[in-house]
Structure formats: C-alpha cells, structure tokens
Amino acid sequence: MKTKRALTTALLAGSLLISSGPTVAGTIKGKVTIARARNLADMVVYVEKAPGDFTPPKKHAVMDQKNLVFIPHVLPAVVGSTVDFLNSDQVLHNVFTPDKCAKKFNLGTWPRGEVRSMKFDQIGCSAVLLCNVHPEMEAYVVVLQNPYFAVTDKSGLYAIPDVPEGTYTLRVWNKKSLEFSQQVTVPKQGDATADLKLKG
C-alpha cells in the first residue's frame, strides 16, 4: 500500500513536472565577428526555431525618440508583440516604415509625452523604422518566433539566457543582411558558447 502510494505520488509529481514546462535551461553566449568591421553592435543573435508556442509579453516593448535618435536602435521582439513608441524630445517626431511585412504603417506625428503603439505579427519581418521629419533617424524591429535572442554590444558580445536544453540553429540578423547560421547545443546543465564569424 505504501509502495503503491509512493509510486502514485512520484507519477503525479513527474506529470506535473512535465506539464509545467522545461525547467533545465542555460545561457548561449559568445562573440560575433565580421572581418574588417569596426562596430559590431546591434546585431541580433537568435534561436531560429524553438519548440512550443510563445505568447508575447503583456508588457509592451518600448522604443523612444530622444535627442533625434531612436532608442534602442535595434529592437527584437516575439511575434505578436506590441511596441510603444515614445517622443521624449521637444520637437515633433514621426514613425513609419516602407516595409510590407509591417504593412507600411505610418503613426503620424505626435508631441512630447504622447505614446503611439504598433503590433508586429509577422515572423521573420525586420522592419526599418524611419522619421519623415528627421530623415537621418533609423531603427529596426526584428520579429522572431521565440524569446531566445540577444543584441550584440560594441565588441560583438552577446548572451541569450534561459534557453532550454537542446540543439538549435543559431542565426544572426544584421543591417547588411549578411547570412549566417550555426548549430549550437545547450547541455542539460551549464551554458553553451558559440562564437560566430560572419564574412564581411
């Protein structure tokens, strides 16, 4: 009787463990390099496809316009995410995109303190964002299937946390559309390192 109860408990616990999702995860980290490139910032390193359905976060992502610059310059987001666009300047700003994958939206012009939002719902879309008041302003929203992504710093370093155990295809998005992919395996315990060398 005791053995039967213990076994039932173990089975129940095991089933709970399975249904609550993976609990073993590690960080994929490394460095992206491009021959002869001086600035390695603002590339998105991401897991191309991960098992499961991923709902976008309830908290909206934010892109600001401050001192005539979009901040951040590159914003990766899970498909279905809504991005709030702020204007923190004392001058008018505008956000629009010429890209079809983002329906060529134009949010108009709005003053400081106001927020306008846009939902990005096409996987694989990397929409360039422009301001038709200040043509030099530029930013990107990169729409991805899952939340396992990171943006490189000036040295090309990146770290993608909480990636479940498994083998994945790692890809790099960059403004110059340089193609790159590499397999990476996240162990049951510990982190994975992947240094990615792109051809310039």
């Binding site: 005539l68 004392q90 038709n132």
Partner: protein, 427 residues
C-alpha cells in the same frame, strides 16, 4: 535674414581682377554647417534648400538654435570660453560663452546653362555659366545669447566677378527681443530663399535712384517672434534703421523700416510640439496662413544733392500652406518724390503656386506684374515664370526655370524670354 552687399568696379574677367559690386543678388540661406552640428538632414529645416520649412523658420527664430533646449540636440560639444561659474564672477570677469568646436563653414556652388530666345545672330543665345556663384557660408552660436551668420560670395555677372562679404551678429536676449547688427535683409518675401532662378519682381523693382528691396543694407534691426494661441502659428516683427544705399551710406540720411507677420495655424513660430499631433506629416507640410506687411521709408541719393529721392514703400504678403501645396504672393507699392520732378508711383505684385509632386520634385508657377509708373501710358509688364525643381539629393538641386513675358511681344523680342537650367550643391 541674409543679405549681400557688393561694390561694383567695372573690371572684366579677362584681366583676372576682381570687381566689387554695389548691389546685391539674393544669397543662399542654407548652411550645411548646421547639418554637421546636429547630424541631421538638410530637409529637417529646408523645404528644398534654401527655402525654409516650418521647423527651419522656428530654428532661425530661436537664434539658430533648436527649440526646446539646443544642448540636447547638438552632436558636438562647443569649446567653452569660460566656465559657467564665471557668470557669478561678473562684472569682475568677462561673461563666459562658447564657440563651435569644428569650423562652422560650408560651401554652396551654383552653375547654370542659359538660353535666351529672339537674339540676333551675332549674339550668343546659349551659354554655360560654370561657375555662376560660389559661396563660403558660416553661421552658428556663441554661447546662449549670441549668434552669427555670414558669407563670402563670388558671383559672375557678365564679364565681371563680384565679391560680397556680408555678415550679421545678433544678440538673442529673448525670443521676442533680438538685436541684429550688420547686413540686414529688409525683403520679407524673402527673395534669397526663392526656388526659381528668376528673382521676384517686387524685390527687383528699382526706384528712380536705383533703390530696390533686394539689396541688403548695413544697419541694425530689432526683431522678435512668438507662438500664437495653443502653441500654433504666431507672430514675428522687425524694425530697423539702415544706410539705404551702399556699404557706406551715400547720404546723410538713414532709412527706416518696420514689418510684421502673423501666422494662423501650423507649427509655432518659435517651435514646440503643443497642438501639433497629426496623422500625416512630412517635412514640407505646415497647414497655415501667414499674412504680413512692411513699411519702408528713406531718402536715396541721386547724381546730385538736388536729385535726392524721398521713398515710401508698402509691401503686403500672404503665404498659404496646405498639404502639398503652397500659394503665396506679394504686392508692393512704391512712391518716389524728387524735387522738381513729378512724383512717381510704382506697383508690382506676384502670385505663385508650388506643389510637391514628390518630396524630391516640385512644380512652380508664378505670375508677375510690374508697373514702374502707374501714371504713364505704358502698360504693366506681365511675366509668367514656370519652373520645376528636382532634388537629386538633399544637398544637390536642379532647377529648370522659364521666363516668358506675356503682356508685350516686344519684350520677348528684346531677349527677355528664355530659360535657365541651374545646378546647386552644397556641403
């Protein structure tokens, strides 16, 4: 507002000497040095250089500073001429300020191909004019309350080269109260901001002693600007005293002027974002109506003291912007009194439409009428000026401009009719 003063000596180019001309041509108002200071595009301030858009006018009305806190937008730190704390030491020290860290200079070059019709066989009826004009422009701010703007300009006029070197120093005490010292542009059109090669007739109409609105003058001006209700539109005024003619005054009398404009709707005259939310926007849009007036009074020297001319000029302007369209116009009335001669009244007006077909392609059509003497039997001269402006890049512009007198066939035969293809670039 810009000006150029040229002193003319008739020296042909073939002698490789430079002549300095007395009367000015319109000078450019675009300055890529600001592009470098703020790392922003020309079209942030210009509809199509040198014509300013609404933000460019607000930038100018803020003493060449970004509205809302210039220090937040400039991308290069100036060189300090004293710590801020020296303000507390004054009057026992010089008030601190700063100057641009990198040279606030820019170059603007203009070349032309001119063709005139109805010329006799012995006269060249088409000419390449490269260069027509080259300018070294400079402008910027000195600390928080002083600004400057100037240029050195070389322009070919027939067989002569003209040099002009106007500049202006301004004390920007408040947006509503600025003092400008140096080369003043009285012309509110303003002619030097036009997009056509052909100048505005109201600016080039001459009095009997050769005064014209186009010419910049030495003097001083008090001016200011402010936003209207709800942060939209607003007002601008200017009042000044100038020599009247020449770099050095031609007589003992000074000329005076006062002018004002009022803008209804659109971006505030000194900028800001209040009330400016919209679903559509573009650097060339600013739905608004601006109306203005200018009164100028002076005494212009003649060949002898007895031939001095008392001059009174009244000018009215209207400038309507809506979506891609701009419709503007001016009407000028000039009254000239010379002792011993009949008074003379002159009347000139123009009406112009501009349409943005694409942000890089603008169509223009202008109708002008000029009557040098409304009391005589000679009819007013009417001219049509169609033009198209193409922006190859934000700082490279091509203009095709056609001038056609339509009221008098004799004028067309007198080679008034013709077209010009012009190329401008600046950096």
């Amino acid at each position: 507002m810009k000006t150029s003063l040229k002193i003319r000596w008739r020296i042909p180019v073939s002698l490789l000497l430079v002549s300095l001309a007395v009367l000015s041509a319109g000078t450019a108002g675009a300055i890529p040095a600001f592009t470098r200071k703020y790392k922003t595009s020309c079209s942030t301030c210009h509809y199509a250089f040198p014509q300013l858009n609404a933000f460019g006018k607000a930038f100018r009305n803020n003493g060449y500073r970004y509205p809302g806190g210039d220090e937040n937008f400039r991308k290069e730190d100036p060189v300090e001429l004293g710590s801020e704390a020296y303000k507390r030491v004054w009057p026992d020290a010089i008030w601190p300020s700063d100057i641009p860290a990198t040279g606030p200079f820019a170059i603007h070059a203009i070349g032309r191909y001119n063709m005139s019709f109805n010329q006799p066989d012995t006269v060249a009826n088409n000419t390449f004019e490269f260069p027509h004009e080259v300018e070294l422009l400079y402008g910027g701010t000195i600390g928080q309350e002083v600004s400057f703007f100037g240029e050195v300009e070389f322009e070919t006029e027939g067989d002569e080269i003209e040099i002009a070197f106007p500049f202006r120093l301004e004390i920007n005490h408040r947006r509503a109260f600025n003092v400008s010292l140096g080369s003043q542009t009285i012309d509110p059109t303003p002619n030097h901001m036009r997009l056509t090669r052909t100048k505005y007739n109201v600016s080039t109409l001459k009095s009997r002693n050769q005064w014209r609105l186009e010419d910049g003058q030495s003097g001083m001006q008090l001016w200011g600007a402010g936003n209207g209700s709800g942060g939209k539109g607003g007002w601008k005024y200017g009042a000044g005293i100038v020599n009247g003619q020449g770099v050095v005054d031609a007589n003992r009398d000074k000329d005076v002027f006062v002018g004002m404009t009022y803008k209804i709707g659109g971006l505030g005259e000194i900028g800001g974002t209040e009330g400016q939310a919209s679903e559509t926007s573009a650097f060339y849009r600013d739905n608004s109506l601006t109306i203005g007036g200018l009164l100028y009074s002076g005494r212009e020297a003649g060949a002898t003291v007895a031939e001095k001319e008392d001059l009174t000029v009244l000018l009215g302007t209207a400038d309507f912007w809506y979506a891609r369209l701009i419709v503007n116009g001016s009407i000028l009335s000039m009254k000239s009194d010379i002792a011993g001669l009949s008074d003379r009244k002159s009347l000139a007006w123009y009406a112009q439409g501009q349409y943005v077909l694409y942000p890089w392609l603008i169509g223009i059509a202008r109708l002008e009428s000029t009557d040098s003497n409304t009391d005589d039997a000679t009819a007013a001269r009417t001219t049509l000026v169609p033009a198209v402006v193409g922006m190859l890049r934000a700082n490279v512009k091509f203009t095709l401009d056609y001038k056609r007198p339509i009221s008098d066939y004799d004028l067309r035969k007198a080679a008034e009719e013709g077209f010009t293809a012009q190329a401008n670039f600046s950096f």
